[in-house]
Structures are given as C-alpha cells and as structure tokens.
C-alpha cells in the first residue's frame, strides 16, 4: 500500500463481483484494496477492523441489502466514506443509499474509470452522484421530506392514549395484549386503533407501523417502545 493511496474495502454478494472489482481496482494507481467480504455483517466487520478511506458496497447481498451495510458502516465506522454500487434505472436504490448516509453512488453500468473517479472524489470529502440520476434523486428527497412533514403532523394529532396503543401495534401486539398492558377493554383498544388509522391516514396497522418506523416518529416524539413510556407526556 502506497502511503498516498486511497484505501478500500469491498463488499458484494457475488464472489465473481468481488473478484472482478478487486482485479480491476487492484491494477489502478492511487487505490489499494485492503480487503473484501461477501456478506453485509462481514463487510461491516472488515471496515471496522481495517479502517479504509472508502468502503465500496454493492446494493445486493444474499443476506441483507447493501443499504444496510451503508447504514451500519456510517454508524460504526464514521470516518470511512461509503460508495454504493446499484442499478442505473431505479432511483429508489439511490434515494435509499443517500438517506442511509452514502457519500457516493455508482451504477453497475459505469466504467471502472468512473468508479475510480468516484473513489477519489469521495475520499476528498465531495459527493458523487451520476449526473443523469441527480434530478430523480432530488425529486425523491423532496417527496420524502413532504411525506415526513405530513407524517409528523399526523402523529402530533394523536392523543396520549392513542400513542400508547400505537406503540403496542408497532410492537406487534394484538388487541387483547395491548388492552391488558394498558388496562383497557379490548373494545376500547379497537376503537383507539381505528381512530389512529384515520388520523394517520393509513388503511392498516401494518401501514401505520411502516409510517412510524420510516419517519422515526417515536424517537422524534420521545416515545420508547419498551414499557410504553412517553418521556414527554405529550398528547392532549
């Protein structure tokens, strides 16, 4: 490893992808591959141990997706910059990658030269997004922020009791279990559940749960899942 080289750890689900990446990047001046792994967990561990400048992760792994790897690397190995390699015709993967904290995105159709350019760009502290995908990414982030604001407002309209019932719903509890924990009747619990769905503007408990986790609503309102505790009291 040359001292000025940008150091890399690679993560990809297919051994052939890894070999191809390692082969292509290993022959470029200015970059050094320190290690690689074909699982999300293994890639995160490698990054934590080797502390590369950049982690290059594919969006597809057999065990989990590469976005999870990105999230975990950003959480546990903060100085390492992350580039996700994903599809060119699906903005949703790019949007998820950026939301997970990715510093760069390269498509599977990009050349090795593009990949090396992205590695250098990202290692210098800049971001790298394929130009053709920038508009779709910005549109996706704007739409998400609008949904986020709407979800926040809708959640804020829930009463304290409704928030407690929602915690139970999100914990996967049935009406009986929620009723027992909150000392309510199952009938009252069902009524609260119906009101919650109406106020959140969703059609099912699954949708409500997805909304809560996607927009991190419990954390934003100081509500803990364990013990159905609402730290701020909140609600009306």
């Amino acid at each position: 490893v040359e001292t000025d080289d940008v150091t890399l750890v690679l993560g990809a689900g297919m051994p052939t992808e890894l070999e191809a990446l390692e082969y292509a990047l290993g022959r470029r001046q200015g970059v050094s591959v320190l290690g690689w792994n074909s699982t999300v967990g293994g890639t995160v561990e490698k990054v934590a141990a080797l502390k590369p400048d950049v982690a290059l992760v594919c969006a597809d792994f057999p065990d989990q997706d590469g976005i999870t790897a990105c999230t975990e690397i950003k959480r546990h190995c903060a100085p390492t910059r992350v580039i996700v390699i994903g599809p060119s015709r699906d903005d949703s993967v790019l949007i998820s990658a950026v939301k997970a904290g990715a510093d760069g995105f390269v498509t599977v159709n990009d050349s090795v030269e593009d990949l090396v350019d992205a590695v250098h760009e990202v290692s210098r502290g800049a971001s790298h997004i394929p130009p053709m995908m920038l508009g779709g990414l910005l549109r996706g982030l704007i739409e998400f922020r609008r949904e986020d604001d709407a979800a926040f407002e809708r959640f804020a309209s829930l009463r304290k009791r409704e928030r407690e019932v929602l915690v139970g719903i999100c914990a996967g509890l049935g009406d009986q279990a929620i009723a027992a924990r909150l000392h309510l009747s199952p009938h009252t619990t069902r009524t609260h559940a119906q009101n919650i769905l109406g106020k959140l503007g969703v059609h099912s408990r699954l949708e409500a749960t997805r909304m809560v986790f996607e927009h991190d609503l419990f954390a934003r309102f100081g509500i803990e899942m364990d013990g159905l505790v609402d730290k701020r009291g909140g609600g009306t």
Binding site: P131, M132, L134, G135, G136, L137, R139, L141, R146
Partner: protein
C-alpha cells in the same frame, strides 16, 4: 441578493413544449422551433427537472444541500441564478399558490427524460 429572491414563495414551472436533450454531463434545453437553446450543467439540469409548478425554491435548496457538500446560501445562489437564466430564455414561469395535489405536472415532452 439576486432578483430571484423575491420569488421564493412562488413555484417555478416549465413552460409547455420545451424540450430537453441529455448528454453525458450537459443538457440542452430548447423550444420546439429550436430558436432558443440553453446548455446546462448537471446540477442546473437537475434544477430544471424540479420545475414542476409545485416545488419551491426552498425545497430545491434543501434537497441539494442533502446531496452535495455545499452551504445553503451557496446552493440558493446557484438555484436562483439557474432559474433566472431559464426564465430569461423564456423556458420558465413562476406560479403562485398551486396546491400540491392539483399542481401542474411537466408536460411529456419536457419531463426531463431526454429525447
């Protein structure tokens, strides 16, 4: 402060019939007769794609700052300059008070996908 700053509460909207032709790192915006042509870099082309009559300048600036390592004031200046250029070329109008649900969408010919 640029002239665009007075339009922050308005919604930039592509005029009908405007065409966009994507190249690798540039985009050519032109009217149907190709009498007026503007060449935009990748960031400016992305801003053009956001001019759907329901997205504010503030929203554009926030999204750009989320993606690029750029200060909000710098991003705002860039967005406002791009919009001024597009408006000056006659490709863009500013709508007021358009509801999100009913807001106009870009026409098929100008929706940014290239020709």
């Amino acid at each position: 402060m640029s002239d665009q700053s007075v339009k922050r509460g308005l919604f930039p909207c592509q005029r009908p019939g405007i065409r966009i032709e994507r190249r690798r790192e540039r985009a050519l915006i032109s009217d149907a007769e190709r009498t007026n042509v503007l060449s935009l870099n990748e960031s400016a082309a992305a801003v053009w794609e956001l001019c759907d009559g329901r997205t504010t300048i503030d929203e554009m600036v926030m999204a750009i700052c989320q993606v690029a390592s750029v200060r909000p004031d710098q991003a705002r200046e860039d967005v406002e300059m791009t919009l001024a250029k597009l408006e000056g070329a006659g490709f863009l109008a500013f709508n007021s008070g358009v509801s999100r649900e009913a807001g106009p969408r870009p026409s098929a010919s100008s929706a940014g996908g290239g020709l």
